[in-house]
Symmetry: C2
Subunit: 274 residues, 2 copies
């Protein structure tokens, strides 16, 4: 079993309560003070995909990170709020017991799933020109964090800064991304990869300040059929901030298939300290 599928494994807690699961935070995707947020976000979507009442495919997902997930088990609940003819609205919550034993909220999320249908289409964000993956160097993460080992990240532009002199010029990165080892692409992997870019402030300031995602939204522009075509290929991912103010900045992300299809647009708001 791939480490990513292992990290996203959920067990139904009670046959009488569909959508209530037990999972376990993944050492294989450990970040500094908890598991990589991308796996936490993907786990929220996993709870929706495993729900017996699911309609359609993921269209949008917003995940709010309320507290670090501790090592060990967590409880995850996905609840359909409303089901229409071709869309379905979801609320998802992740909890762990606090010191007093009460379930404490670590993550909340909403999702919309939908039935896609053929229409006119147009990609107005063509994939930027980039050298081939094999001609790009691996990203230079300063620490050997577990989760960064779970991805092949090859830098076309905007590597982690090596010279930490406060002299950054912009916040634009373009990375080729792939699971390590490779794994066929699906909505879960896309969700995690949308959150795989390091905090833009590190690049913009050339300074490694504490930073963490507060909320991330992922829009899925492709259906399962298109994802299946991408199989185990690389994605080209791009990340850039628009604004840094008063302890927070945003981070806009696009993910393209190697064939140039825009699969995901994503945005997050990130806390930073300095």
């Amino acid at each position: 079993m791939h480490a990513f599928d292992e990290a996203l494994r959920l067990e139904p807690l009670d046959a009488a309560r569909p959508g209530v699961f037990r999972g376990s935070s993944s050492p294989a995707y450990w970040n500094m003070v908890g598991p990589f947020g991308g796996t936490t976000a993907a786990t929220a979507l996993q709870a929706v995909l495993l729900h017996p009442a699911l309609l359609g495919e993921p269209l949008s997902l917003t995940v709010n990170f309320a507290a670090a997930v501790a090592p060990g088990d967590f409880q995850l609940t996905a609840r359909p709020l409303r089901t229409n003819r071709s869309t379905q609205h979801w609320f998802i919550e992740m909890t762990q017991p606090d010191a007093q034993g009460a379930q404490s909220v670590l993550m909340s999320a909403t999702a919309v799933t939908a039935v896609r249908r053929p229409t006119w289409g147009q990609n107005d964000s063509p994939m930027p020109a980039a050298p081939l993956p094999q001609d790009c160097s691996p990203a230079a993460y300063p620490d050997k964090l577990a989760w960064t080992q779970r991805y092949e990240m090859r830098v076309a532009r905007g590597d982690l800064p090596r010279l930490l002199d406060g002299g950054g010029k912009d916040s634009l990165s373009q990375f080729w991304l792939r699971d390590n080892p490779p794994r066929p692409l699906d909505f879960l992997a896309l969700t995690a990869m949308a959150d795989a870019f390091y905090p833009r402030i590190w690049l913009r300031r050339a300074k490694l300040v504490p930073a963490g995602t507060v909320s991330v939204t992922v829009y899925f522009h492709a259906g399962a059929a298109e994802l299946a075509r991408t199989d185990q290929g690389y994605l080209l991912g791009q990340a850039q901030a628009q604004n840094f103010q008063q302890g927070f900045f945003d981070q806009a992300v696009q993910l393209w298939s190697e064939a140039g299809e825009l699969l995901v647009t994503s945005h997050q708001i990130v806390y930073f300290k300095e």
Copy 2:
């Protein structure tokens, strides 16, 4: 009282249940099959701002539109899911009774509020060059929908298409925006204005197809102090799609103060039919 404040008026339903409110959908902001989504989104934020346990100011808001709001009363519930030292996580739900009298979900939302603090800041998305508001023509809405009368919208670029020949070239609009009549800017007004751009597909295809927002996320980059400086001035708003596929497209929005401060970045995923 300004029509916008009237539209967002909420009454606590029960002193024993803080965060549970009754409101009423606003004829003054009526759109085609319900009130303008921007007022519905602002109403979700209003419930948070009126909650007695509120910590900090709005940082992010995601609103999912599950069904059209009918004329008359609705119930709105805002619940703090977790309160940290400087951030607070919220879930919000709007309901109306269905044919059987059961509360049916029309809108769900999450929000994060936060305490802002002075840090290094940088706006990497400068306001685009545009003619002065008084030199721009009003937007050419084809129907006299009530909600469009509640805004002064002056077109710097990307007006509603007049020639519906399917020959659109891009999806970029730049409008000066202001409440009509003017009203001092706050988080509520920003929320509604982030959703005030007409569907990008109308411009991209030069074709007025049915379209409606499914989910919108708003990031607030400024605090109450900066908003107060803007007072009743115009905002410059920009909207553009990245991708149209299989019945859905995204719409990215930025709102600047007339002085060039980036106040809001926002994104939405929109359903379309053709």
